[in-house]
């Protein structure tokens, strides 16, 4: 098969980009599926699920209600900690000079970050008030930590720009708003009414955060539709300083003549 040189910054993932697509398509006519399993994937998972213990023990508490509430507070605390770091990463993009019409400034993002940090402090106080340990990682907290890792990973990547980071922020804010509402309902139902009232302030903030992120995301999409925001891909980035040896000069076409000339 003849190989065609493509520019190094062209997307290669789709089959239309490949000279070998016909060969790959022809495979579907001849390949047979694997058929030696005694049990399928779903059955194997079922078996593992039935055998699996809990990820860990809940926070110690004198009764079930307090234990559930402490687990949820610990979970929210873990999420707000990760959320604060999520905003740190997005603020870094804005501070690095990334902007678009209708998008957030560093100050806009810092305000939300401050509020996320305040929510964390509020949750810490709430845990202490219920005689809990705010440094304890509850099963709910561990779950939130795992769930938020992908969001952090998406925004921390130096290659994702301010606008792209709004998608993981939207996921974070949607989840945060719903989780706060659910937390307050549970705290209320467990009989901690005063605490529930204090936590309500945070929900208002979360509503605002969500509205803002949705607005910025809308503005970003418009800005992109107007033809803005295309950036060079990895292959255009700075390279390690090139070292040319006699051997590599032969491989590199443009240097061959120089080497040949020297030999003469």
């Amino acid at each position: 098969m003849k190989s065609t040189r493509r520019p190094t910054d062209a997307n290669r993932t789709g089959m239309d980009a490949s000279d070998h697509a016909d060969g790959m398509r022809s495979l579907t006519a001849i390949a047979e599926p694997s058929d030696l399993a005694r049990e399928d994937l779903a059955t194997l998972r079922q078996r593992a699920i039935k055998d699996a213990p809990a990820t860990g023990s809940p926070p110690p508490a004198p009764d079930a209600a307090r234990q559930v509430v402490l687990d949820l507070l610990s979970a929210r605390l873990a999420y707000e900690r990760a959320g604060t770091r999520l905003y740190d990463a997005v603020i870094a993009k804005a501070t690095a000079g990334q902007r678009f019409a209708g998008g957030p400034t560093s100050a806009d993002l810092t305000l939300i970050r401050t509020q996320e940090a305040e929510h964390r402090a509020l949750l810490q106080e709430a845990i202490l008030e219920l005689a809990g340990d705010p440094t304890l990682v509850s099963p709910g907290a561990s779950l939130e930590m795992v769930a938020s890792l992908g969001l952090l990973q998406a925004v921390q990547d130096a290659r994702t720009d301010l606008g792209e980071c709004l998608t993981p922020l939207l996921i974070a804010e949607l989840a945060d708003r719903a989780a706060w509402a659910s937390l307050i309902e549970t705290v209320d139902a467990a009989g901690f009414d005063e605490l529930a009232d204090r936590l309500r302030d945070a929900v208002e903030h979360e509503e605002e955060h969500l509205m803002k992120v949705q607005g910025w995301l809308r503005a970003y999409r418009v800005w992109r539709l107007e033809g803005n925001g295309r950036r060079p891909s990895a292959s255009r980035g700075p390279a390690v300083r090139q070292v040319t040896t006699k051997a590599t000069a032969v491989v590199r076409g443009q240097k061959r003549k120089a080497v040949v000339r020297r030999k003469r």
Partner: protein, 404 residues
């Protein structure tokens, strides 16, 4: 109780049966409930098994007659490694696993440095210890500042989180990482077990960072893993250079089997989780069987008595406990030490080669310094603390305009 290495036969190799995939990849430990030292033992034994496999592959290459025997031993050891390493749970994220790896390095090396009978080699261990101690601090800062994770939830208060010998000055020219080897005829058996245990531990740490470093998105994390992985390679060089180069490959195999027996026995002696204890017991019995195979090969091929190489009884088990006081004393007395050739010197006596190398790798700044600028550990992490602690530097590492 101790083990008589020459009399304990364990399970003969031909009676060591393979486990199924579901038994190998069974129920993991709990990130939240398992003791940090149970996790530490799991991590070290994974490293020991990895080293055992690697060294037996190297041994097999020039020894055609031994290949079948080595292949049979390796098959069981690969299963042991799987059984052990799959005890780590999925919710232990790569950064948290890193914290746990560094805790292993700290507490294991502290124990080894304390019990090492050779004063020069004990100094080598203390030297390496202070560098891993610093890595624990740097990674803890990363966990907090990039992920909002308190490293102490993993370390469970056993290990201090504070600077050791700053990572930025740990970068040395290769010649300054080579130490003087023990003399195989005169060295205490414990000296040999200690060195080989640390080679295994540091190699797996290096390999782990090399595998996961590129998976991080955060640019500081990517660079920090690159930086600390390079130190782990220096540590492998250091500990490997402690071994007597005149030890024959079969002698080294025999010692490696003894290392495995010693380490599993240490795990078994101190394990608090009954389910994991049963795994250590199984692996110990298997390793005693592998030791018999190695003895037989050594005695047949080299026509030497394995009692020349093996200690009759094992030294006291590795003490899996907090070494806080020893560490604080060592940091305070020896963080300022540097290495020149195989000697330990003051900072101003470092070699020109080391200075030049360090300048080259730190030319664009230091990830290990950047990540921890102005950071000290406090319960619940940075965010749980009141704002500024150092003049001009916020706890989140951003500078308020004043140079530190």
């Amino acid at each position: 109780m101790t083990l008589d290495l020459l009399r304990e036969k364990g399970i003969p190799l031909d009676r060591q049966t393979p486990l199924s995939w579901s038994a190998l990849a069974g129920i993991p430990t709990s990130k939240l409930d398992s003791d940090a030292f149970t996790r530490a033992r799991i991590i070290l034994m994974n490293g020991i098994e990895a080293e055992s496999l690697r060294s037996k592959h190297l041994l097999a290459r020039p020894m055609a007659d031994l290949r079948p025997t080595l292949a049979r031993v390796r098959r069981i050891e690969q299963q042991q490694q799987t059984l052990v390493n799959w005890l780590l749970p999925a919710d232990l994220s790569p950064i948290e696993t890193t914290i746990a790896y560094e805790q292993v390095a700290i507490e294991l090396t502290a124990h080894i440095a304390e019990v090492e009978p050779d004063p020069y080699i004990a100094q080598v261990h203390r030297f390496g210890l202070l560098e891993d101690f610093d890595h624990y601090y740097r990674f803890a800062a990363l966990a907090d500042r990039a992920f909002g994770i308190d490293a102490n939830a993993i370390g469970q208060c056993y290990s201090d989180i504070m600077p050791g010998r700053p990572t930025i000055v740990e970068h040395r020219a290769p010649d300054d990482d080579l130490r003087r080897p023990y003399d195989k005829h005169r060295a205490d058996p414990l000296t040999k077990l200690n060195a080989l245990t640390l080679v295994a531990g540091e190699t797996q740490t290096h390999d782990y960072y090399m595998a996961i470093g590129p998976m991080f998105a955060d640019p500081v994390a990517r660079r920090l893993y690159a930086e600390i992985a390079s130190i782990e390679e220096q540590h492998v060089t250091q500990y490997e250079s402690l071994t007597d180069p005149t030890e024959s490959p079969l002698e080294r195999w025999l010692l490696m089997e003894a290392v495995e027996v010693y380490n599993y026995w240490s795990c078994l002696e101190q394990e608090t989780d009954p389910r994991i204890k049963a795994i250590w017991e199984r692996c110990l019995a298997q390793e005693l069987g592998h030791l018999q195979v190695a003895r037989q090969a050594f005695e047949t091929i080299e026509r030497r008595d394995s009692a020349e190489v093996l200690p009759r009884t094992l030294p006291a088990p590795i003490a899996w406990r907090s070494h806080r006081d020893f560490l604080r004393r060592t940091v305070s007395a020896e963080a300022g030490l540097r290495a020149r050739g195989s000697d330990f010197v003051s900072a101003r006596e470092e070699s020109a080669a080391t200075r030049a190398y360090r300048q080259a790798v730190n030319a664009d700044g230091s990830p290990s310094e950047a990540v921890a600028l102005g950071w000290t550990w406090a319960p619940g992490g940075d965010l749980a603390q009141p704002e500024p602690v150092l003049a001009g530097i916020r706890r989140d590492g951003t500078n308020r305009g004043r140079k530190p």
